[in-house]
């Protein structure tokens, strides 16, 4: 229970989070906060530990040490479904849709009223008007209403990415984490994605965005955390972080400069 006279806890607080894989320390003592309303970008070269970090926060991997607090509540060692229920939703670098189910069904699965009570969900057979109406909001938000009855596996790349975002939003999360949403997109699709994320922002308390694409990070992030070798190399506004000499050396140098 939050103490009444304290200020509101951050949406996400990551403290000294670490993950050890055999000999490798993939994430090595990462700490940062995400405040309400913020989009925080996480950048870093390949292998810096960005995706492992997302997997730790969302509960896909158990953390070796450190902690994750969501809106003041410790969720570090909760099982995957409990973390989802508390309000962390995510997308995946390698898109993970329920490919043999329809676009509409992919969003409907995230409907918490049923996901939390599967046995009771049996008795909601029939037209499911209210469920579909709820899902419709997210499909329309991501411009997928016209695709609702198609199989998710048949969607083109950009739409598949948007469906993952719609599905994540349909859990009504506090925190949305996007793992390289622009990967494999052309410039036009990336520009659309910027609009999609801005619309998604209104539906959640905060967003964490992992991305390689610097234009996307600059267009969307309020703050940036730069990682390398599993550690935070620099953190601050996008301009500050991109001007950091370590960041320039480790990350931008590799890509041929900004």
């Amino acid at each position: 229970m939050p103490v009444a006279d304290r200020e509101e806890p951050p949406v996400l607080r990551v403290e000294a989070l670490a993950k050890q894989f055999d000999g490798l320390r993939a994430v090595d003592g990462v700490s940062f906060d995400v405040a309400r309303g913020e989009i925080v970008g996480i950048i870093g070269p390949n292998g810096a530990g960005k995706t492992v970090l997302i997997n730790l926060i969302s509960g896909f991997y158990p953390a070796t040490s450190g902690s994750v607090h969501l809106a003041g509540e410790d969720v570090t060692s909760l099982p995957l479904h409990e973390i989802g229920r508390r309000g962390i939703a995510r997308t995946f670098q390698n898109i993970r849709l329920f490919r043999r189910m329809t676009v509409l069904e992919n969003v409907l699965i995230a409907d918490q009223r049923h996901a939390r009570r599967p046995a009771r969900a049996f008795f909601a057979f029939g037209r499911q008007r209210t469920e579909i109406a709820r899902a419709a909001r997210y499909l329309e938000l991501m411009g997928l209403a016209a695709r609702a009855d198609r199989l998710a596996g048949t969607l083109p790349y950009g739409e598949a990415r948007r469906l993952e975002i719609a599905r994540a939003l349909a859990t009504e999360p506090k925190l949305l984490m996007l793992d390289e949403p622009a990967a494999g997109m052309n410039e036009e699709e990336t520009a659309e994605l910027v609009q999609d994320v801005r619309r998604a922002r209104a539906a959640v308390d905060a967003i964490v965005l992992i991305e390689h694409d610097m234009s996307l990070i600059q267009a969307l992030s309020d703050r940036v955390v730069a990682m390398d070798y599993g550690r935070v190399m620099a953190a601050g506004t996008p301009a500050e972080v991109l001007a950091d000499p370590n960041v320039q050396r480790a990350y931008l140098g590799e890509e041929g400069g900004p």
Partner: protein, 275 residues
């Protein structure tokens, strides 16, 4: 004679559905013959020794099968894929060996004196289970189960408790197998542990794979065709296992998702009136 054919077809349809329900969450169970045995013996002991009416013994036997499945499933469903299959095979052997060696269940001699199953009882059971499966296919639970089969970790991250959902399906499948077993025993009058050999469990899984795993009609068709075909084509009778083997190989090559491979979406947008 013809009545017997219909009866065994009906039993196999129930068993195929019991495999199908478990398979909805992506788990292949070779233990359905064992849960059938538990249902059969539980109902048989209740009616023959304690004078319980069949109408009470059947649901009680279903509950017992289901409870046994939950007990086994709780630790077992944590392991995945091939390991879970091995666990279910192990369950089938254990149940058979137990039935053979416990005096209370009649040992290798088996259990006798059960009677009372009429063909229409079985018909009603199939209709009831079929109706439930049909309603399931139009319910939010169907897509939760399907999502668990497609990608269980992602389903979990959306708030689905995997252990609970998998146990629910495993328990429901065992209840259907227990129903089949209870009706089976009271039709045959006399059952022995070797009526519930591992081959029973294996054949039932094959019916489902042949018929199709994506909808409730596939198992129904698979069980019907594979039970009746060898009965009507006399020449095939001695070759039954061979025929099965050939059918499986041919199907997996030509139509790996079974005869009826369509999947009905659990909800549709078209027809949704909008805002």
């Amino acid at each position: 004679m013809i009545q017997d054919y219909l009866f065994f077809t009906g039993i196999n349809i129930l068993l195929a559905w019991s495999v199908y329900v478990v398979l909805l969450t992506g788990n292949l169970s070779f233990a359905q013959g064992a849960f059938m045995a538990i249902g059969c013996y539980a109902a048989g002991i209740m009616t023959t020794r304690y004078g319980v009416p069949l109408a009470v013994a059947v649901p009680a036997a279903m509950l017992l099968s289901s409870a046994a499945a939950v007990l086994v499933g709780f630790p077992a469903l944590r392991v995945r894929g091939i390991y879970l299959i091995l666990v279910t095979v192990g369950v089938t052997f254990c149940v058979r060996i137990a039935l053979e060696n416990v005096a209370y269940t009649g040992g290798v001699e088996g259990l006798k004196g059960m009677s009372g199953t009429r063909l229409w009882h079985l018909g009603a059971a199939i209709a009831a289970v079929g109706l439930l499966l049909f309603l399931l296919s139009r319910s939010p639970l169907q897509r939760i189960l399907d999502a668990v089969r497609e990608d269980d970790r992602v389903a979990a991250s959306l708030g689905v408790n995997l252990t609970y959902v998998k146990l629910l399906a495993f328990g429901a499948g065992a209840a259907i197998a227990g129903l089949a077993g209870a009706l089976y025993g009271h039709y045959l009058i006399f059952v022995r542990p070797d009526n519930f050999d591992i081959l029973v469990s294996i054949f039932v899984v094959l019916y489902v794979i042949l018929g199709g795993v994506n909808n409730m009609w596939g198992p129904l068709l698979g069980a019907t065709v594979m039970t009746l075909l060898p009965e009507f084509i006399r020449a095939l009778q001695d070759w039954r296992p061979t025929m099965f083997g050939v059918a499986i190989v041919v199907m997996l090559l030509l139509r790996p998702e079974g005869l009826l491979k369509f999947r009905q979406p659990s909800a549709r947008w078209s027809g949704h009136a909008g805002r």
